[in-house]
C-alpha cells in the first residue's frame, strides 16, 4: 500500500525530529525552544488521551482539562505537604506527601482515573449534546471548587519547586525533562495503539460507529465506553503531572473550560481518530499561539476565525491531509 508507506515515512521523520530536537535547539542557540517543545509533548499526551475517547469511542468530552488539572494538583499538593511537613487532610492515617515522581505521577493517574469514573458514569447516562454540556459543566465544577478552596491557594494556585524527583534523572534540567516527557508520550502512544487494535478497542470503535447494533449483538456498550473514559482520564492525569512540573505552578486556570476547548482543538487540528495527529495538532496550536502572540497581543482575533475555517473546510485535520487515506485506524 503506497499511502500506508507515506504514513510510515511521516511517522519516522516525526520521531527522528523529536529525538534530535534538543540538539537542534542547542545548535541554533535557542535553548528556550526545548521548553516549548516539552509543552507540546505534554499537551500531545493530553490530546492523545482525548482522541482515544473522541476518535475511537465517539465521546465528545468538553471537560478534559479537568483531569489534566487534577493530575497537576496531585503533584503540587503532595509536594506542598512534604515541604511544610503537614498532613494531607481527609486521608486515613497521617501522610505528609511526597516529592518522588514515582509516587506522585502514578497517583496523579489514579486520581484522574477516579474522577473520570465518577464524571463518566454520570455523563454516560446520556449521549450527544447532553454529554458535551455535562462534561463541560462537571469540569467547570472542579474549576470553581479549586478556586474557592483557600487551603491550596484558591485562585492563586500553588507553586511547585523544585520539580519532582526521579531516580537517576534530574528533571530540573530542561533537556532531561524533555526526554522524560518524550518517553512517556511514546509509551502512551504504543499503549493506546495496542488498545484500539485489541478486542476492547474493537468494541469501543463499534460503539462509536453504531452503539445500538453493538448492544443488540449482546455487548453492554456503556461499560466499555466508561472504561475508555477512565483510561483517558488517567492518561490526562499523567499529562497534568508533567504539566505541573513544566510550569512549576498549578492553578485552577489549568482546569478552565477554555483549556478543555484547546485540547479538543488539538485533536481536531491533527485529525480525529489518528493518534499521531494529536501530536501534530498539539504542536500546531501551541506554535501558532507562540507565533501569533509574538506578532500581536490580540492574537485570538486571528485564532478564532482560523478555527471556524478549519471546522468548515478542513475536516480531516493536518495529519489526515499529510498521511492520506490511511491516516485513521478504522
Amino acid at each position: 500500500m503506497v499511502t500506508g508507506g507515506r504514513k510510515r515515512i511521516i511517522n519516522m521523520a516525526g520521531l527522528a525530529l523529536l529525538l534530535v530536537l534538543p540538539l537542534l535547539a542547542e545548535a541554533a542557540d535557542s535553548p528556550f525552544f526545548v521548553s516549548v517543545a516539552t509543552r507540546v509533548l505534554i499537551y500531545a499526551l493530553a490530546a492523545l488521551s482525548l482522541d482515544l475517547i473522541l476518535g475511537y469511542g465517539g465521546m465528545v468530552s468538553f471537560g478534559h482539562a479537568a483531569f489534566v488539572g487534577l493530575g497537576a494538583y496531585v503533584v503540587a499538593i503532595l509536594a506542598h505537604h512534604q515541604t511544610d511537613g503537614s498532613f494531607i487532610p481527609f486521608l486515613p492515617g497521617a501522610w505528609n506527601g511526597s516529592t518522588q515522581a514515582l509516587i506522585q505521577w502514578p497517583l496523579a493517574m489514579v486520581v484522574g482515573g477516579l474522577f473520570a469514573l465518577v464524571i463518566g458514569a454520570l455523563s454516560l447516562r446520556t449521549s450527544g449534546v447532553y454529554f458535551i454540556m455535562i462534561t463541560l459543566a462537571f469540569a467547570q465544577m472542579l474549576y470553581h471548587f479549586m478556586v474557592s478552596l483557600p487551603t491550596y491557594g484558591g485562585q492563586d494556585g500553588l507553586s511547585l519547586w523544585p520539580r519532582s524527583e526521579l531516580p537517576l534523572v534530574d528533571l530540573n534540567d530542561d533537556v532531561s525533562f524533555y526526554y522524560v516527557a518524550l518517553v512517556l508520550l511514546l509509551l502512551a502512544l504504543v499503549a493506546v495503539r495496542r488498545l484500539i487494535a485489541s478486542p476492547f478497542g474493537m468494541v469501543l470503535r463499534g460503539a462509536k460507529q453504531n452503539e445500538a447494533r453493538l448492544v443488540s449483538l449482546g455487548v453492554p456498550a456503556t461499560r466499555y465506553k466508561l472504561t475508555a473514559f477512565v483510561i483517558a482520564g488517567a492518561i490526562a492525569g499523567l499529562a497534568g503531572a508533567l504539566l505541573a512540573n513544566h510550569t512549576e505552578f498549578v492553578g485552577p486556570g489549568m482546569m478552565h473550560w477554555t483549556r478543555s476547548g484547546e485540547i479538543l482543538i488539538m485533536v481536531i487540528l491533527g485529525g480525529v481518530g489518528t493518534l499521531y495527529g494529536a501530536i501534530v495538532g498539539a504542536a500546531t496550536l501551541l506554535l501558532l499561539e507562540e507565533g501569533l502572540a509574538g506578532l500581536t497581543e490580540h492574537w485570538m482575533i486571528f485564532l478564532g476565525p482560523f478555527l471556524v475555517f478549519v471546522v468548515l473546510f478542513a475536516r480531516r485535520g493536518i495529519y489526515g491531509w499529510l498521511a492520506g487515506r490511511e491516516a485513521g485506524d478504522d
Partner: protein, 248 residues
C-alpha cells in the same frame, strides 16, 4: 404453551395518543419460522423492539425460553440467544465485512476487557467469522469495507452477524427490504435451511416470501394479533382480508 420459545403476553405500548401495541399476545414455537404480517403502522417494528428489549412496554410480559425477560436489558437477551436484524441495515460501516462478523462473535464472549492482543490476529474470532461469511455467500468479500458493499450484500452481512452469534431465536425485521428479485431469492436460500435449527419471527411485506417460508403466520392490526394460523388458513381468513382492505 410450553413449546413456545418466545411469548408476548398483553404487550401494550403507547406514544401519546397512538397505541402501537394494544394488548398484543404472541407465541412463537420452537424451531419454526413465524411470520408477522400486517398493514403499515400495525406496530410490527414496535413489537420487535419490545421483544428485543430496545423499547420498554408500558404493560405486559415477555417470556423467552421459559424465563420472564421483560426487565432484562437488550444485551442480556441477545446473549441468551435472542438476536435481531433491522429494517434499515444496521452494521458497523467503517469496518470490513470480516471485522463486523468477528465483532459479533466477540460479543458472545464473557467479556471484551482484553486490552493488549490484536483482535484482527485472533484466529478464534477470525476463523469462525470467515466460515459464516462463506455460509451466506460473502466469503470473497470478507476484506471489503462495509461502505463498499452493495446494498444486498450489506443485508446479507447483517444476517451473517446475527447467525455468527449462535442464536436460538431471530427477530428479522424485513430482511428483504429494498432487495431485488435475485437478492431476495438468495436471502431466502440463506433463511430456509435455518428452519428447525433456529426459531425465527419474520416481519415481511412480500406475501410470496411469507407463504414460501413461514410455518405460522400472525396478522397484526392496530397493535393486536387478529389472526394466527397456518399460511393457507390465513390466506383464506376474513380478518386478514379486512385488515388489508381496510374495512374494519
Amino acid at each position: 404453551m410450553t413449546d413456545a420459545i418466545l411469548e408476548a403476553i398483553g404487550l401494550t405500548k403507547c406514544f401519546g395518543a397512538v397505541t402501537a401495541s394494544d394488548g398484543l399476545n404472541l407465541a412463537v414455537k420452537r424451531g419454526v419460522i413465524h411470520a408477522l404480517i400486517g398493514p403499515n403502522g400495525a406496530g410490527k417494528s414496535t413489537a420487535v423492539a419490545q421483544l428485543s428489549g430496545e423499547m420498554a412496554p408500558d404493560a405486559g410480559r415477555i417470556r423467552f425460553e421459559g424465563r420472564d425477560v421483560t426487565d432484562w436489558p437488550t444485551h442480556r437477551r441477545a446473549r441468551a440467544g435472542l438476536q435481531r436484524s433491522y429494517q434499515i441495515t444496521s452494521v458497523f460501516p467503517a469496518f470490513t465485512a470480516l471485522d463486523n462478523v468477528a465483532l459479533a462473535i466477540q460479543a458472545q464472549r464473557p467479556h471484551s476487557f482484553r486490552f493488549w492482543t490484536d483482535a484482527r490476529l485472533d484466529d478464534s474470532l477470525r476463523a469462525p467469522a470467515r466460515a459464516v461469511l462463506e455460509r451466506v455467500g460473502l466469503g470473497e468479500r470478507a476484506a471489503v469495507k462495509v461502505t463498499d458493499l452493495a446494498h444486498g450484500e450489506q443485508r446479507q452481512l447483517e444476517i451473517a452477524m446475527v447467525l455468527a452469534t449462535g442464536p436460538t431465536m431471530l427477530l428479522l425485521d424485513e430482511p428483504m427490504a429494498g432487495m431485488g428479485q435475485a437478492e431476495s431469492r438468495r436471502m431466502m436460500e440463506i433463511l430456509k435451511p435455518l428452519k428447525g435449527e433456529v426459531s425465527i419471527l419474520l416481519i415481511e411485506h412480500d406475501m410470496d416470501v411469507v407463504f414460501a417460508l413461514a410455518d405460522v403466520v400472525t396478522v397484526l392490526v392496530k397493535g393486536r394479533a387478529v389472526a394466527t394460523g397456518a399460511p393457507d388458513d390465513i390466506r383464506a381468513d376474513v380478518a386478514v382480508r379486512r385488515a388489508y382492505l381496510g374495512d374494519y
